[in-house]
Structure formats: structure tokens, C-alpha cells
Amino acid sequence: MDLWQLSVWAAWIISAAIFIYLIFDFFKVNLKYSETVLTSSREGVDELFRTKPRRGNRSWPMSQRRRPRRPNPTSTS
């Protein structure tokens, strides 16, 4: 068996080993974690869950920017 034929066998064996590892890890993760945790990812999570705007309001979505408070015309001070 020459080197090239050996490489063919090596390719099959390495491929099989990788796929066995992937399938093993796949089942391990599915058994260890609940479906709720695994499918808990959220799209646009930055915008949805940021609680405080950065200084200067630069990165805060426009729809949620605070408007400056108007002075109360009835106030006496």
C-alpha cells in the first residue's frame, strides 16, 4: 500500500472520528441542558435589553431617547 492509498484511508478514518465526536457532543448538550435554555437566544438583544443609555445618548435608539423636560409655565420658581 503506497502513501496515496494510505492517505485515502486516513481521510476516511479522520472524517469518521470527527463526525463521531460531533454527534457525541450534540447528544451530550441536548441531554445536559433544557430546551428552554438552548432555545433562549434573542435577536437584537443589545437594543432590547440595554437598561441605561450611554453618556451623551449616542448609541441609544432614537425611539427611546428621553426628551428634554419642558419648563412648567405654571411654576412660580
Binding site: 485515502v8 437594543e47 435608539p61
Partner: protein, 467 residues
Amino acid sequence: MANVAAAAPAPSESHVNLLKVLGPIHVWGLGVGIVLVGEFMGWNYGVGKGGAFGALISCFVIGLLYTCVAMIDSEITSTVAAAGGQYAQAKHTVGPLMAFNVGLFMVLTYTMLNASDIQVAGQLIQIGAQQFKAAIPWQPFTVLWLAILTLLNYRGVFATLTVNFVITAAAFLTIVILFLGVQGWNPTAVLLHKELLTKLPYGWIGVIASLHFGIWYYLGIEGTCQAAEEVRSPGRALPLGTMSGMITLLIAAAITWYIVVGLLPWEYTGWDAELAPLYDAAKVTGSPALTVILFVGTLLSAIASANGCINDAARAWFSMGRDRYLPQWFGAVHPKYHTPFRSILFLTPIAALFALYIPLAQIITFSILSGLLNYTFMPINMWNFRRKWPVGVIRRGFEHPFHPVPAIVLLVLCVAVFFAIYLGYGRQLLAMMAFYIVASLWFAFYRYRYVRRGAQFTMAWPKPVGY
């Protein structure tokens, strides 16, 4: 590998999200990595249709098409920072049925492109072995490349796209080395343009037919959008990575055409039996060093493309699962590696089956057709986006100039390319359209009831104008 690992189970109220670890170089590596293989092979069939000058015209016309794609994508994706790319854009700007179709277009584009890339990568090993008088099958190496790239994608996006950046840059460098090797700055030293360039062999209809293969120069650059949820700064990284990627591809396409048509007659280039015209051009120079370098470059470009396609197809499939356009099971993220692991593994055997049993020309035609349908959606996407959220209403990472000119140009060019494809692959085009119509009916009458209708609109934007 993912550099943030959650070894302990996450508490029930926490979310396992994709990691935000990517920068502009990763976006460049993803976009150019998917596409660059088209410089090494595929575009040359356009020479068979329109001659050398026909291929050059299609290179520039399709370059214009993709520049419009890149401009539109850069604006919308820098605002809709979500995995799924154009799918996520479509659900915000158009509606669920369009989003479902766009998601399918992308999954098919990238899965079929992945299948053709790994098939080519396996066949290149076979070609390499033939140089040493060894006859080996290509299938084991195709499966090996797929296994290695699937493992890489499974274990984390940062390593995946860092590797893609490195091998893509190396593949691009081999094109530059060939240009230097043939003294491209001196057109009469090695290159034979005067002797080899002819008039248009089939007239202007041949030029139109060659537009189909001009797509190869750039197919997949829109894939940069799929990284939107994983880049640290979408507003900066996505436009920068996409536009610099487009510039790289325009340069690579021009150099490729210039070298190949200066070394090989158009009759040979148009029906290249050995897959790769740049590699053949290197062989013609008689330099063993250039031949080896271009062989390695061709192989690296195919691997980079497959790697990026696995990444993009999985993200599109994952996003559709997350919104329940598909079973929610696909919307899972690996708690340790933060990758869409179920989508990655689900699409792997599909790519393997197509790579092992379907001829290359058929697979790549499926990919091109799906990609083109995706581009046809983009003008509608852009019009709706600017109409519903005009400039100034929401913060954009990038605003493309001259709206609506790029959208109109894109639509006109898409129609022209559809006609070109119809000339050569009319039956496949109609079959693909029938497939998408059946899939749309399934979605509208069965699957839509499961979609999270309110929750899928995730961007913190004001109500659209007119609502």
C-alpha cells in the same frame, strides 16, 4: 474557538446568545472567502459564451450589480443587526412570506455553494495526486474537508472566521503573485493579448449569455450580513468589511481576466476541462513554483468558500427556527461554543449528499439561481426601508448615496441576468421557481400559524411612516 465558555448550566432566566466577537477583518474574510473561489474557476464559462471581451463586459456589468447589492446591504444590515441577514431584513421591511422565501434562497445558495466547494476541494486533491502518477478517488477528501470545516464551525465563530481571513488573504496573494510572475505591468513580456484577443464570437447575444457566469466573480459577498449578530460594532464593521470586500473582488476579477485571456486562447478557456483557469494559466508559464502556488491558492479558495458557506447557511436556518418559520428546535445555540449547532449539523449531510452525487454544474446553477432571487428582493427591501423609516428617523450605521438609483439599477440588471440564465438553463430556472412556489404554499397554509408574529420584530424602532 469561542473565548467565552459557560461550563456551568445557565440559570433558567438567562439567555444563551451568539457571541459578539467579530471585527471588520472577519467580515471581510467571510465575504471575500465565500466568493474568491469564483475567480479561480467558473467565470471562464462566460468566455465560452461571449468570448474574452464578452467575459470582461459581464465582469464589469455584474460588478455593478454587486456594488448595488453591497451598498444596499451595508445600509440595511448596519441597522438590522441580526443573524439571518436578508431574512431578518425582509421580516422587518416586507412581511413573513417574503422573509420565508428569502431565508430559503439563502440556505439553498450557501448549502449548494458549500457542496460544490467541497466537491472541487476533493477533486483538486485527486488532480494533485495525478501529478505524482497516483490514481485516487476524490470522495474521501471531499468528506474530510466537510468534516474539518463542520468541526471548526461547530466549535466557535471567532476561530472559524479568523481561519477564513488567513486562508482567503493567502489565496488572494497567490493571484497577485501570478500577476507579478507574468510581469503583468508589461503586456508584451509574457502575456499575448494581441495574438489571443478576438472579436465577439457570438455577437451581443453571447455577451448577454455570459452574464450568467459573470455572477461567479462575486457570488456570496452579500453573505457578510449573516455575521450581523456576532460583530462587536455592526454599524462600523459591516459596511467596512462589505465594501472593502467588494473592492478586493473587483481588483481580483480584473487581474484574473487580464492574466488568463493573455495566456490561454478563448476556445480553451471557455471549456476548461481541468476546473481551474488560473491554475492552467500558471502551468502555461512553465514555472513549477507558480504552478504549485496557484494550485495551493485554488485549494485554499475552495476551502475558504465552503467554510463561509457553512457559517452563513447555518445562521439563516437558525434564524428561521428562532422565529418559528421552521421548527423551533433549529433555533438552539450551543451553551459552550455559542454557535447554532443544530443547524450546522442538520445541513452537513445535505451538503455531503449533493457534493458526492450531483454534478458540479447542476449544484452551482441551483446556487446561482437562489442567489439571484435574493438579489431581486433587495430593491424592494430598500424601497420599503427608506419609505417606512426615512433617513433621520432611525440611526443608521451607513447611508448609501443616490437612492433610489442603486435599487433601480439592481432590479434592471437582475432581470437581464434572469434572461441570460433562461437562455442556457431555462429548465432549471423554471424548476427552481416551481420549488419556491410549492414551499410558499406550505408556509402560507400550514407553517405560518406557528410563527411568533409579534415577537419577531425585534428592532427598537418607531412605528413605520404611514402606520
